[in-house]
């Protein structure tokens, strides 16, 4: 019975990947075919920089892309739930399970944000990164569904890990926005944005957006660290022990605290702030990848 559910989960994850791939193609199609080469007065074709984007031409592709994204989300949700049923616990026992849940949370955040703002310019990136995450998860990180080790059997698993996954998703989103800022900033200095990026919001808006994302989720990250400490106190006999994962969670916390102070009290904006934001985000990513797989501490639950 357990294995059946694990197989069902895998089928769902594979189908979700297929649908995300279609969504990616539709997003790519939408952008590529929106480019209209305007004709100059003498009927010759314009240069790349004078090309304009006309998204009305590809509105249908955009709708298909978003619908595929929503369908992929539902399939992945079914995959995560089936994985939980097969293991008889919340599916956060190893890195494969963290990754598929993280991809689910990331897609969910995008779809929720989409209801309020027209963020479809992000869709190309979202579908691609979800595909990459799921691909890595299923090829490199896959482990058979198994029961939780005793230290993980606690209500805090749900609280601590949900807070950490959501914070991580938002931090990475802020990183993407900061990265887009840096790229567009240098592109604009060199003369202008590439045609397919004209729909991305203005530099100021990106700058504000990455700050808003971090400021919004920083208290949640703090809570996640605190919840982890409370759990560690009951599982390991100390609430803070400078275990590698704890150390890097602390470093991430300090880096984002520095980012917030730099923005709010010292007035950093633009490139400097974007770089600091990316640095802070990379400490989070490093913690997830390095400490889970090669680390030595008490948090090595990757199952690798």
């Amino acid at each position: 019975m357990q294995t059946t559910w694990a197989y069902i989960s895998n089928y769902f994850v594979y189908s979700a990947m297929g649908v995300f791939a279609l969504s990616f193609l539709a997003h790519a199609f939408e952008t590529a075919f929106a480019v209209r080469a305007p004709q100059n007065a003498d009927e010759t074709e314009g240069t790349l920089l004078t090309k304009t984007l006309d998204y009305k031409r590809t509105e249908k592709a955009a709708r298909i892309a978003t619908a595929m994204m929503a369908l992929g989300f539902l399939l992945l949700l079914a995959g995560v739930v089936a994985r939980g049923i097969s293991a008889k616990h919340v599916p956060w026992g190893n890195m494969y399970e963290f990754s598929i849940t993280g991809a689910l949370a990331f897609t969910g955040a995008y779809l929720i944000a989409l209801r309020k703002h027209d963020l479809r310019w992000l869709g190309l990136f979202v579908s691609l990164s979800v595909l990459l995450t799921l691909g890595t998860a299923i090829t490199l990180l896959y482990r058979n569904s198994a029961p939780l080790v005793p230290a993980l059997k606690s209500t805090w698993l749900v609280i601590h890990v949900v807070a950490a996954i959501i914070s991580g998703g938002v931090f990475l989103l802020a990183n993407v926005v900061a990265g887009a800022y840096l790229y567009l900033d240098s592109a604009e200095k060199k003369g202008g944005r590439p045609a397919w990026l004209t729909r991305v919001p203005s530099l100021e808006a990106l700058d504000q957006l990455s700050y808003r994302l971090v400021a919004f989720v920083f208290p949640l990250w703090t809570f996640s660290v605190v919840a982890g400490a409370i759990w560690a106190e009951s599982a390991w006999g100390r609430y803070w022990g400078w275990d590698p994962k704890e150390t890097w969670a602390f470093i991430t916390w300090v880096a984002y605290a520095a980012y917030l102070h730099a923005r709010v009290t010292v007035g950093w904006r633009g490139r400097r702030a974007a770089w600091l934001c990316i640095f802070a985000g990379s400490t989070f990513l490093f913690n997830y990848v390095y400490v889970n797989i090669w680390g030595t501490g008490k948090h090595t639950y990757s199952g690798l």
Binding site: A146, L148, A229, Y239, F250, V264
Partner: protein
Amino acid sequence: MSKATEVPELGFIALMRYSWRQLTSMRTALVLLMLLGIAAIPGSLVPQRTSNPIAVAEFIDANPDLAKFYDSISLFDVYSSPWFSSIYILLFISLIGCVAPRSVEHYKAMRAQPPATPRNLHRLEHYQLLDGGARELERATQWFSQKRFRVRKSGNSISAEKGYLRETGNLLFHLSLILILVGVSFGSLFGMRGEAIVNVGERFINVPTTYDSLSFGKLTADKALPPFEITLDKFRAQYDPKTNAPQDYTAWVTVKDSGKTYKKTIKVNSPLTFGSTRVYLQANGYSPVVTVRDENANVVFQGPVPFLPQDGNLRSVGSIKVPESDPQIGFVSNFYPSYSREPGRAATSIYPELLNPELLFSIFSGDLGLDSGIPQSIYRIDTEEMQNLGLGSVKPGEIFTYDEGSITLETVVPWINMQVVQDPGKSYSLIGAIVAVLGLLSSLYGRRRRIWVRVTDSGVEVAGLAKNSTPGLEEEVADLISFIKENK
């Protein structure tokens, strides 16, 4: 003659004042904050004595010279090193220097009235001009008091302000960090931490001699331990038959505490609590129960001997030391709960439960070195000066006889490692952490804003100003205006 630029001579007090200002400046605090993050990195790359003493010992064995250098700059004790401590102490001084004056200022501002209404309201955001007069001003007052604004009324105008929670939260957050630091230091200075291995059937009495290792905080004056006794009645470890991974550890104990006797269970996530002392289930393994007889069949040793697990299937190493026999006898041993051996390969355990237990040993006779004064591992024997008498193996109930005597494996019992921790500072840290999260929430989501209403000859003027340009004021002003216009 020196042509150096002349530095105006600073008096001692002026110099101190200058340094203090530098230290408490925001830029210095920011640099210190980033330094703290960077300084924490080496501790996650180099093994630390506090969290992984075995890895430190291995590192020292493997690279003695490098280890000596590492040790000279405290790389094995990063988080208690002078350089790490000085960064966070400076940071906290800087933080206090920053937060204390701001707290005073904030307290004064909270008690003071909102600033007077500016002369030219029409230059401000959300400016609107309505019809009306004194009655409208009265309506506005009503709205402000409903929405809990702080209000200053002077003649024909109202100046209202709200959102002090933002700064309150900000200050509380920073003050609570100090509380967390106090809790951490209090716990490490006045706490206690010890470990003891207890076999099933044995009793643990909470006195220093029962512990295998015990350490007190530097300022723990009263070294008396709370008087309790724990008898380990039963221990059960459950494993997943497919992956051999542990699923559950439960210890059933009988506790005797201040005259009362009661039964309890200890699990990995639910320790026993005695006041500020907690008892944790940290590790487990097997103790073969053996009887060693000499050549005349007199019992020279009997009892359980804890073995140290080496892998997930609990292949364990240990040593059975028999100082009572003459000459002394020692068994350098391996224990396999589920023994298996394939041809041409070393013996191994294939499952962590006792499915096919077997004890393998090498017998040595000579001086065990127990009187040498050098502390010894209970799991190992230094056999350099001893004579090897041969190899052997036994299963439970079997006896192995050699020229100088015999050894019997009576049975095998599990042991647990109990960790006893007393941390009187942890409740301060917890309160600090909770206040920190709440303070952060109100400081990042709080909005400070002012709204003004004034009656002039041309009508009622309304305008607002949001600090930190946070959104939402527009809706609020609109709400106020529709309230004023009601009931006309």
